[in-house]
Symmetry: D2
Subunit: 443 residues, 4 copies
């Protein structure tokens, strides 16, 4: 099967070229003019951008949280991702207390297999550190799970102390793994949460007030003292704010996530960070919970509201709209942030993350002129509200392909449940070996 | 009993005046000329500085550590202090695990009573935080123990986690207490110590190498994120360095203290900090152990060397010599660093720390022209070595008085064992109440 | 003539003592109790603070500016100063183009002699640098004019280029002089001023908008690159803001000074700077112009409004009110900022700036409980408006003495025109000689 | 004419792909496999990198300096550039005092035309700013000279004051021009130079000592206060140091350039800057002078040594060697630094600076395994010494093509004098328009 995408504007992290792309089977074969010899299918991309399929390296499909589960599973969540131009996710497998890493990983393999519409990989959330778990980390790096998430928050649930964190960091410095950090000072936050609840402050806004930016700054500084840090951000931190968390009634619960939303003045600083590469990539932390039946577990006690927002479908368009349309970042930087940098950081490049001969034909044909309104009525994620309800964005992923197969075209979903493949990722090597051991954190 | 100190140069934190001082009983009555009416005793201080008796707010007399005790008790240690121009100490009472703060405090009262030659107060080392201990903290503030030492290092011995630290800080913000912090990241250091010992690195120098400056910086930054910090330094950090810790054989053990000595390049930065008030005072962390019989418990395993150095006798002369004689700080700043600032910070001012009518007549008559050599052979501390053996300093506390009584004069000790009084200190008020809750740390 | 001030609370930069002060002739003789032998006059200061007379090191009496003169001369201005608790000023003599420094200095000696009610010294404003002027600088240091003001702003009027500034700095590093800097980037500001006027923006607010904080920051950074900087601030920068400059109509003209007033958010930062000694002293930059007949020269063209505000009378009370009453700084720090630090920095200590035996008996007896309203109707400066009109402050300098003579008492002025003496000041020595060459700047 | 480069590893700023490149006429037609239909020439690049021809945006061919001229003209200099893998230069046209910009530009067009072997563009050095020159700047932007070099150093020769600089910056913010800045404080440096010469310090090392890093830092900070800055560095700042400037005898003269070489400790910081994009590109500041007959004009008076070093031939190999071979930067970052970023910054992209369909076929086939020794005996620049004499580097530009024509192959030069074309460059648009006006500076 040979497909020719004609007359589009091909955009990579470096180049923007009006030319054609020839796909042979699952791979890109050539880029250039005069390639049209013996193709089975031609897609006209005149006046459209031809971009690498986006990669979301921070999702939580079907995550258990506070007695309930994130409302998207691997079937609904990956279909929504495809609708939004994302063709690869890296989700978080979770170790259970007293269990091995492998037991947790196996569980996530089961959740994904036969369900995923798009390709996927796993990070591993590590909740305990001891000698045998450190050995398991070596093994996981070797079988394509080279990244581990640790928490400096949530005492009694996820939080590790500095000694454990430092041991894990030291180990990945040797085995090629990458540590990802949830950086908030959980000890101090816990004291504040108890104090607030004791004072009868139960509304959602208190979720933000008990997790002040200084506590995130402290933990980030502590992690940096132990190792070098990269940083991601997510659309919600660029568009939403503490004002949303403070919406009247219980409406604010829709916006409860951790680290929490900050004052609107942070938005410009974060965009600037994306421009200047202080922030290296954009993911979503997609972790949806229905407003009715899930978020409302925390009425009157904000600490019981499941933490998480939907986002896997909207990231591509939101970052294009707020970044490229508004002149904040270039087209090439956009592609780098949503596809190339995630692929390089997390061992998927050059198979994923670019348009180049030999790479997987994961391609988004994007029409930058279509205006549309974001809404829970039209989105494809399995959640009963949208954080961006009523917001107008310009730009639509019209055609989405994975490994040469069309997933979305002309408003129709053509993907196949279970067609998504598990991706064995390479050890971390995006930065020269002489650099200090790198660690990822979210800002 | 009325004493007139004539013709000296009276130095306070602000003024330098050639004039007379009249003492009536235990108090200073007047400063000026023409005061000589009906005095019982005249001391001629021509060509000498008349300064407030110095205050050492960081000593550990008879401290239990690793199965042994600091070699100075309240009798020998306070006599040595007086020899060196220090007329007040604030020592650290220690809570035992599972015991109340009061039990620990009572023990220290017993150690001091009937033994001390000079006045003394106590800080309280807190090893556990819970509701009842927080209440005890309120009580201690009210009875003149308004400062509490917490540790971010020594896991399993002294270390508190961030939640406990934050609770203690919050409490003192309300009750007028002051938190003092030992700021090193004990978790990460512990991992390093174990790794070094496993690799057969047991020499004293490894004490320094396993406690890198970045771990002290991290912990200090963490404490600052939780509250405002003041900072002290000690003579050993201004004079000694990692090079001493690395002396051949087991000699380096003499220099084991925590935080450890740093490279010599730190000296200038610390002196600059003293000049510019980034460091607010100088204490000693006096905690002596004999080289033979105590320090040598750690031959081949640096982690077993008792941590601590002698210093209570030499501070006054060392800071005068390295600070005033070398032109780094002014005379007035010297008095501020060794007497006035400690008194103000720790609730002893204006009773102690200055020469003013109504203040205690704690006075040092200092001869700035006498040259002498520091040595274990001539010092009065109960310890078999000097960190400054053979070093020549210029300047001698010739006469030392407390509350109008002479302790040291013409090379003779005239103090009385047990004459030192316990000082009830005032709650922290050295800085306006609108400031964030202040915390002291050592650099 | 011997005066006893009884029962007051004597405040110096270091101490606060309830005691008596004995004055013999022009000097303080003693401080303490039991001093009352053979006095000619007793002043009861019960419930009052007894403080050193304040020193204002930044005034411009009778300064020529834009075709007019500052409205206070040495007679009216120094009387107003005394009313406000200030007993010493250091005014700025100005070199005229093409003239020697001495010619400028002689002019200012003439302006002051026979007129001043209080003691005074001079700084020298230097408008040209060449070999012969550098030699004159040496001479002036030797005759008690050891400080020189240079400008990085006002091209064609005062501005010197970097080469000239660097030569002057290098010279004072050798001769004991102190450089004071007006730090604003005059070149860039001038471009902005012309552009604004060309665009028809003539209102007073544009004075501030054409002198952005970044241009002051740049120039300050440039000066720091050349030498070490001390910093002063003035009451107007602590109380007034850009909002005042933007008052409707031409009212904003009352608030035109340079550097201009900044947004209100700067106030807290400046107070913090005063607390932490990042700012070392408070002066006034007193340079008054009548609103009618002087300020209104610039109606429709802000660049023609004479730059300057009245302030010499109100500084003491404003800083006491905003600093001590509000809990931002201590009593001792207040005395340091308005009297001791200026005296030490500018070669007047210990003759001025403290209360100590041997010092000049320049004393303010301050009643901290009197409430009063600042107003042009009641102030004594020769200017037709007050920047603080209608503002209520708590605290009044009830008695003001200079060298033992009463200037103000019980609401009556008892000073004598011409009684103020010229003060030969010492070369700069407030900081150890090993420090880099220091320079003063205003923030 | 169609050329196929087969089996090479094609490297762009983003991608590294083992594939083929098809060239049709002067342009790249396609990248991929299966392209070999009807080609006239095949070049086998197995085991070689196929990279965009490098761009040197900072050269000074035939520059007049201190009575002499840079020893490379456009013929010798561009041939040497081609030998070294550089296929485009942007040289500096110079305005003469009292002349228009155009007169200066015309002179440089004459110097280049008929001589250049490779394509070239011009920046314009501006020595005066007034209304008519600002208008000329608009015109030059429109005819493809959209970048202007200003100097904060060399008073009386190139130096502009802050007002002039600020006017030029403001103009380019409107007309799409880019300001490039030589950032050293010329005023202070001039004072130091005179002082050093007066003290008899004439050796080359004094060139460095009179231009301290603090003066470059100050000027850079000043420029940043006026506008945003990008930054370039050059190989000499990464490899050479103040130690070279201090070589015995007059040898140091070979290393005289401005800003001067710094201590070796700067090297690592600069490499780190290149890795983290604090420095955006690498150029050469190629400005060679013969040691005999030119550099020796300054024997005994360092200020008369012509400022400048040769480098246009060696940049590609030096940065590859010190950057890629040593593991400091990735292959893609290397291409970005020497080709893509310069092209984007200076309006040549996508015509130059990448390998993409439609781009000029400016290509370097680089053999990373060849070891060779740099030497004046073998280099092609017209200068009698090499700064890197005897240094071994690994990697050789084996084939160098411009617009499809081979310039260098198998150690033979096949270029044609005069074949290089003048490049009209686009206005600055590499960064979104909402950014502050950008300015380039050298570090």
């Amino acid at each position: 099967m040979r497909t020719l995408i004609k007359n589009g504007t091909v955009v990579t992290a470096s180049d923007t070229t009006k030319t054609d792309v020839l796909i042979d089977g699952e791979k890109i074969a050539a880029i250039g003019s005069g390639l049209a010899t013996g193709t089975d299918q031609v897609i006209d991309a005149e006046n459209r951008y031809v971009m690498p399929g986006a990669i979301d390296v921070h999702t939580h499909m079907e995550l258990p949280f506070g007695g309930t589960f994130a409302s998207d599973d691997f079937a609904t969540g990956t279909a929504a991702a495809a609708w939004g131009g994302t063709t690869t996710i890296v989700d978080f497998a979770v170790q259970s207390y007293g269990q091995t890493l492998r037991q947790g990983l196996d569980q996530w393999h089961k959740k994904a297999q036969g369900k995923a519409h798009i390709d996927y990989g796993f990070h591993m959330i590590v909740r305990e550190i001891n000698d045998s778990i450190l050995k398991e980390m070596d093994a996981l790096v070797n079988e394509g799970i080279p990244s581990f998430k640790l928490f400096m928050a949530y005492p009694g649930v996820f939080m590790l102390d500095d000694a454990a964190i430092f041991r894990a960091m030291s180990r990945t410095a040797e085995n090629g793994g990458l540590i990802m950090m949830h950086a908030e000072n959980g000890g101090a936050i816990d004291v504040l949460v108890k104090r607030y609840l004791a004072e009868g402050k139960g509304d959602p806004i208190n979720h933000g007030l008990t997790r002040p930016a200084s506590m995130e700054g402290e933990a980030t500084g502590r992690a940096i003292a132990l190792a070098r840090l990269f940083a991601e951000t997510c659309p919600q931190y660029l568009y939403l704010s503490l004002d949303d968390l403070g919406r009247p009634g219980f409406e604010g619960a829709k916006y409860v996530c951790s680290p929490p939303l900050r004052p609107p003045s942070h938005h410009d600083e974060l965009w600037k960070g994306l421009l200047q590469d202080d922030l290296q990539l954009v993911a979503t932390d997609h972790c949806p919970f229905h407003f009715k039946g899930q978020k409302d577990l925390g009425r009157g006690d904000f600490s019981k509201i499941p933490n998480g927002l939907p986002g896997v479908e909207d990231r591509f368009s939101l970052i294009f709209h707020g970044g490229v349309n508004s002149g904040r970042i270039t087209l090439n930087r956009f592609v780098e942030l949503v596809a190339t940098a995630p692929a390089k950081m997390f061992g998927l490049f050059p198979r994923k993350g670019t348009i180049a001969p030999g790479s997987d034909a994961d391609i988004v044909i994007f029409n930058p002129r279509v205006e549309r309104t974001l809404s829970a009525k039209t989105h494809h994620m399995n959640v009963d509200y949208s954080c961006y309800e009523g917001m107008t964005v310009k730009g639509l992923p019209e055609v989405v392909m994975q490994r040469g197969n069309v997933l979305v075209r002309e408003g129709k979903f053509q993907g196949v449940k279970g067609a998504g493949q598990f991706l064995r990722r390479s050890p971390f090597h995006g930065v020269p070996a002489s650099e200090p051991s790198p660690v990822g954190a979210r800002s």
